[in-house]
């Protein structure tokens, strides 16, 4: 707010100027008609009368009518300049505020805990950050100043009218509350209908989106007619809602026009009668009519604006929801993280909600430099286990969920930033940013050279693929990396992690989309570059895990079996052994036939 206060103040000042000009011009017209052209005494303020007297009085002006024209011309210039300045300053003010607001939102979202991201739908948050910000922005840049100006204009017009002719002014005022109330009433209803239309459009848009992304499914199942009907039904619904809204709007404008017209007629008639009686001059009448037109339009707009105010209020609430969510914070006495030691999971239990534990009583030790294999079915909690390690999900503060230590230090006592910098992670469905491949690989490592990028890409078997692209490493990865195949994305993510040279590495089923040959090549290359890092390897395939120093078999959130491959194979009916034999069966069969 600080930086923009000045601009808002200037903006308010220019509003005053605009209102002054708008009020002064009808007075000049009145004076010209009544006093210069007619013979009525001047009713201008005494300062102005003095000024006129000094240049030669009314007779002088009669001979030099252009002086009055010049005066109006000057006011015209003043009006133009202040309108221009007002627009520029109010925009500068609101843009400064909005930019600040966007910054606050974005950075707050970046530091919100991951659990918050899981609980809130992406589309909803983006909508808050875009359309709600837009609503607030419109309020700041358009409505706020407008409301101020309208109120000012109404006050000034009304007081001028009352000063000129009380009985006529009363006649003009009686219709105003009616206009205001009716605008408020319609405004609210129109807004509700608008919201319905928006929602209907959202549904229609989603149907089109799904149809386009699922085009293969639609065609392969021969369901074009069904899709057409689905779209048509919602298209009709959307159109009808709009038509209902338009009927309401048409009625709103129509009735508004009518009331305003009646009001003008009322004043016209009364004015005419008074003029005929001689209690009002022609100039008064013309000026009065001018002020009156300044009255009815703003009142109608005011009604709608007041009803729009609640809209801005709702948007502010929706934004406040984001900004008031607590962000991730380290403990005040958080220590620097040293991740070279043994990693101990000590009786770790965790669930997204209290009643449904996803992991229970997990205890194991990963010695520094060891490779830990984790085997588990879909939804067995193996990814979550890794997200606990880098504190994407923090364990409960009270210690009821056990604790995780590295080199004897509880990770909850470490600085999250350092902890995460030390844990390199390749996710099952890797996310690439909308930028070039080189920038994607380099994003987490500062001061990285082009050669480092290529080296990492070579280890991840991405180099050859990238070199085939026309733009090479400058090839742009589209939104969510759509231009790359799943396997290419996984390899890019591996390269990205390798540049970080982290003491702890996590491969979360990260070669699932790569074909067998490349898979083997990557593994071989990686093996030479792991150094003394501690590695966690999540996979469905026992063959991948069998050489790990420790294999954990997760079943329903518990460690069902653990040990080395040899130890696990001694259990006659063990899960690991069963899976291993299932997976091996095919291969051995071939040995016999070939």
């Amino acid at each position: 707010m600080q930086g923009s206060k000045r601009f808002f103040l200037i903006s308010i000042f220019t509003s005053l100027l605009i209102t002054f000009v708008d009020t002064a011009v009808p007075q000049i017209v009145r004076y010209t008609v009544d006093t210069v052209l007619g013979n009525e005494p001047s009713e201008l303020p005494s300062i102005v009368n003095d000024l006129i007297a000094r240049i030669g009085g009314t007779p002088y002006l009669r001979g030099h009518l252009w002086v009055l024209a010049i005066a109006v011309g000057c006011l015209a210039l003043l009006s133009g300049v202040s309108r221009y300045l007002q627009r520029v300053f109010s925009t500068t003010a609101s843009e400064t505020l909005v930019r600040r607001m966007r910054h606050l939102l974005f950075s707050h979202i970046q530091y919100l805990p991951f659990s918050w991201h899981m609980q809130n739908r992406t589309g909803d948050i983006i909508q808050r950050c875009t359309s709600d910000v837009e609503t607030v922005k419109n309020f700041l840049s358009e409505q706020l100043i407008s409301i101020f100006r309208i109120v000012l204009q109404i006050t000034v017009s009304l007081s001028m009218m009352y000063a000129m002719n009380v009985s006529l002014a009363i006649a003009a005022t009686v219709t105003l509350p009616v206009i205001l109330l009716y605008s408020l009433f319609f405004g609210g209803r129109i807004r509700r209908r608008f919201k319905e239309c928006d929602e209907a459009e959202g549904v229609l848009s989603a149907i089109a989106q799904e149809n386009l992304t699922g085009v293969r499914v639609v065609r392969a199942f021969g369901r074009e007619a069904y899709e057409r009907d689905r779209f048509d039904a919602q298209n009709t619904e959307y159109t009808n809602r709009w038509l209902r809204l338009s009927r309401l709007m048409a009625a709103f404008w129509g009735v508004g026009d009518f009331i305003a017209g009646i009001q003008v007629m009322l004043i016209l008639t009364l004015g005419v009668l008074q003029c005929a009686k001689g209690t009002m001059t022609a100039g008064d009448f013309i000026a009065f009519m001018s002020y009156n037109t300044m009255l009815s339009w703003p009142i109608r707009r005011l009604g709608r604006m007041i009803s729009e105010l609640s809209k801005a209020g709702i948007s502010v609430d929706r934004l406040h929801y984001i900004l008031s969510s607590p962000i991730e914070q380290d403990r005040p006495d958080a220590v620097d993280a040293d991740l070279r030691g043994d990693i101990v999971f000590d009786d770790v239990s965790f669930g997204y909600t209290d009643d449904a534990p996803l992991l229970s009583h997990i205890s194991f030790t990963a010695k520094s430099g060891q490779t830990i294999g984790i085997l588990g079915g879909t939804g067995s909690g193996k990814s979550t286990l890794m997200h606990l390690l880098n504190r994407l999900y923090p364990l409960p503060e009270d210690g009821s969920g056990g604790r995780i230590t590295i080199g004897g230090v509880d990770i909850a006592d470490m600085k999250a930033e350092q902890l995460r910098r030390g844990v390199g992670m390749v996710l099952q469905e890797p996310y690439l940013f909308s930028r070039s491949i080189a920038d994607n690989i380099a994003i987490a490592s500062e001061g990285i050279t082009e050669e480092d990028i290529r080296e990492a890409a070579r280890i991840a078997c991405l180099d050859d693929t990238v070199n085939e692209f026309v733009d090479g490493y400058d090839t742009f990865v589209g939104e969510r990396g759509v231009t790359l195949s799943g396997g290419q994305k996984q390899r890019a993510a591996i390269a990205r992690m390798l540049t970080q040279k982290t003491p702890i590495m996590v491969f979360d089923d990260s070669l699932s989309a790569v074909d067998a040959e490349t898979d083997a090549r990557i593994r071989a290359a990686l093996n030479e570059h792991l150094g003394d890092s501690t590695v966690f390897l999540i996979s469905h395939r026992t063959a991948t895990l069998m050489h790990a120093d420790l294999i954990l078999v997760l079943e329903n959130g518990c460690i069902a079996e653990s040990g080395t491959h040899e130890q696990l194979m001694t259990r006659t009916d063990g899960i690991y052994r069963r899976i291993y034999e299932l997976q091996l069966a095919g291969a051995l069969e071939e040995e016999v036939t070939v």
């Binding site: 133009g80 799904e210 994003i443 490349t518 469905h540 071939e590």
Partner: protein, 609 residues
């Protein structure tokens, strides 16, 4: 950072007649309403022109003249005029919205339905986002153009012409003097408008960039936190909002000039009337009321001018939308049924199911040569293969080697460049696409579900499937456990694109969906790649169950899943390099052998990770 090489959209298009002639087919049903609208607009503006004349009469007769004998008639006439205007405005507004929405509706319907018939090459060449905004926003913009822009230009043009005519008739010298401001005002307004258009275009681009930033910052949250790049993201976001602020403020200069010039020129016109008109009135050559009316017209001239220029501006800007929509509607499908076929079998929307033969599943590639419509290389050359009904065909090869090509041809997503594909002994082109597709079950590499309930999704291939059939299929692919785990069973919502489910769950459900329709042809596109080992084994068993008696195509990179296949087709760099049974191919010791032993080695020896 490198510059994004997006598909560049033409922003400035010039079409003959602003492209309006291309819209005629869509306007035709509404020509009467459009004419009525124009008439109403004309009435509305005429009333606006007449109102100051009432004031003139009142001043000249009642106020200056002091006679009030005709006052009753005057009031009656005035009120009637007002009522005429109220009704004209009401109906004009209503009809304009009506036409806007209806044309939007028609265009949406036409584009959406047309998209349902376009072939896959169109979808491969255009991104979903691009096509989506054709259907959603271009159509709305055109609707808006047709109704509002037309209506507004009629209204404002007639007001300007009318006001000028009345002024000329009152006092042509004074009128000509006042009219000198018109070209000045027009020039200034048009100049600002042009700059503003360019800036607004830039602001729209920046807006979508900022939305994109939010999208990345939110959907990429997990990765951002893991990589600890929050600061980088925030810094880049701040750069974008900084540009946004500067551009918006720059635009406000022109916008400010636009509106201030309207107020400036209208007051200038007033000053001119006050000066020259005042003189004329003093010479008794003009009545006071006439002077007052003249002032009203002079002042009221600039604002319609502004809106008229706005209208012309949107007419110019909408050309690009018209161009894009008509191009989409004119795009013809690479794969289409002949009119004889449509006569006999119906099209995608009105099938003549009574004429449909059964499909048995004998498939033959007969000397097929194929090149993708947007590709340069011939991927199949003189390829012939007989696939008797019930055959299990496996297609293997590296990721991106072009394993989908054969399936794309069998499903008639593409047609052979040369040669033909026979289905049950007859050229595929002799029967309709829908006939063929109704007999196919398809499980995709990236499973795609539609928002709605589990039941709705499973019934996708067979709308009248009973719950018993659904559960049977679910059990067959062991997806019953997945559904049982959900709160509302078959009535559970899957979310947009199936977002509420895991990839494995989606995979299982899409497998069940394919089975329910009891298809004669089954296509499994790397269907088992994202379920865990135990489930995979179960699905393996299910596959051999469901492929019995059906012709099936399995695209897989896990060679263990295809050993049992009747014929294995090995693809490398888009071309078929080997084909045969597993044992034969192993004996050949060719590319398949290499692939297989690599995987074998990986599975047993090399997996040290």
């Amino acid at each position: 950072m490198s510059v994004q090489q997006k598909k560049t959209e033409q922003e400035h298009v010039r079409l003959p007649y602003f492209g309006l002639n291309r819209l005629f087919p869509f306007l035709k049903p509404y020509r009467h309403i459009l004419l009525l609208m124009m008439g109403l607009g004309l009435v509305g503006s005429l009333v606006d022109i007449a109102l100051p004349l009432f004031q003139r009469y009142a001043i000249d007769h009642y106020i200056v003249g002091g006679v009030t004998d005709t006052l009753a008639t005057f009031i009656l006439l005035y009120v009637s005029t007002l009522i005429v205007q109220v009704f004209a405005n009401f109906f004009a507004f209503f009809h304009a919205t009506h036409v806007e929405m209806k044309i939007g509706y028609d265009l949406k319907k036409a584009t959406f339905n047309h998209l349902q018939t376009l072939s896959f090459s169109y979808f491969n060449q255009n991104s979903v986002g691009y096509i989506h905004s054709r259907v959603m926003s271009d159509t709305s913009r055109i609707g808006e153009l047709v109704s509002w822009v037309m209506m507004d230009s009629i209204w404002h043009t007639s007001y300007i012409i009318g006001a000028i005519a009345v002024m000329l008739s009152i006092n042509w010298k004074l009128a000509l003097l006042v009219l000198t401001v018109v070209p000045l005002a027009t020039l200034l307004i048009a100049l600002c408008r042009k700059h503003l258009s360019n800036l607004n275009h830039r602001i729209r681009e920046l807006n979508s960039k900022i939305s994109g930033d939010y999208n990345e910052g939110i959907t990429g949250a997990k990765t951002i936190k893991t990589l600890v790049v929050e600061k980088t993201m925030i810094r880049e976001f701040d750069e974008d909002t900084g540009v946004m602020k500067r551009t918006t403020v720059k635009a406000s200069h022109f916008r400010g000039m636009l509106f201030s010039s309207v107020s400036f020129f209208s007051m200038l016109a007033l000053a001119l009337v006050l000066w020259r008109g005042g003189l004329i009135t003093m010479e008794q050559a003009m009545e006071l009321g006439t002077l007052s009316a003249f002032m009203s017209y002079a002042q009221g001239l600039t604002e319609p001018l502004l809106w008229l220029i706005e209208s012309i501006n949107s007419l110019i800007n909408t050309q690009v939308n018209i161009e894009r929509i008509t191009r989409l509607l004119q795009t013809e499908s690479d794969v289409s049924d002949t009119s004889e076929v449509i006569d006999a079998y119906g099209d995608a929307f009105s099938p003549h199911r009574e004429n449909w033969e059964s499909l048995y599943g004998d498939i033959e590639f007969d000397d097929v040569t194929f090149r993708y419509p947007d590709g340069e290389e011939t991927v199949l050359e003189h390829f012939s293969l007989k696939i008797p009904r019930g055959t299990q065909v496996a297609i293997v090869g590296e990721t991106g080697a072009g394993k989908s090509t054969l399936v794309n041809l069998v499903c008639r997503f593409y047609e052979p460049t040369v040669g033909r594909i026979l289905i049950d002994g007859r050229d595929a082109r002799e029967r309709s696409q829908l006939w063929l597709h109704s007999h196919i079950g398809y499980v995709l590499q990236t499973p795609h579900l539609f928002s709605g309930t589990v039941r709705e999704n499973l019934r996708y291939g067979k709308p009248n499937a009973t719950d018993e059939e659904i559960w049977e299929a679910l059990r067959l692919v062991s997806a019953d456990a997945v559904v049982n785990r959900m709160d509302n069973g078959l009535d559970s919502e899957v979310g947009e694109g199936g977002d509420l489910l895991s990839t494995g769950e989606k995979q299982l459900l899409s497998f069940a969906r394919a089975i329910i329709a009891d298809p004669r042809l089954l296509v499994l596109d790397e269907a088992t790649s994202s379920v865990d080992t135990l489930t995979e084994q179960i699905i393996q068993n299910a596959i051999s169950e469901v492929t019995k008696g059906r012709t099936s195509f399995i695209i897989a990179h896990r060679l263990s899943t295809v050993r049992e296949a009747d014929v294995i087709i090995v693809v490398r760099d888009g071309k078929i390099v080997e084909q045969g049974k597993h044992a034969e191919l192993m004996a050949q010791k060719g590319y398949y052998y290499t692939l297989y032993t690599r995987q074998f080695e990986r599975d047993t020896v090399n997996a040290i990770l």
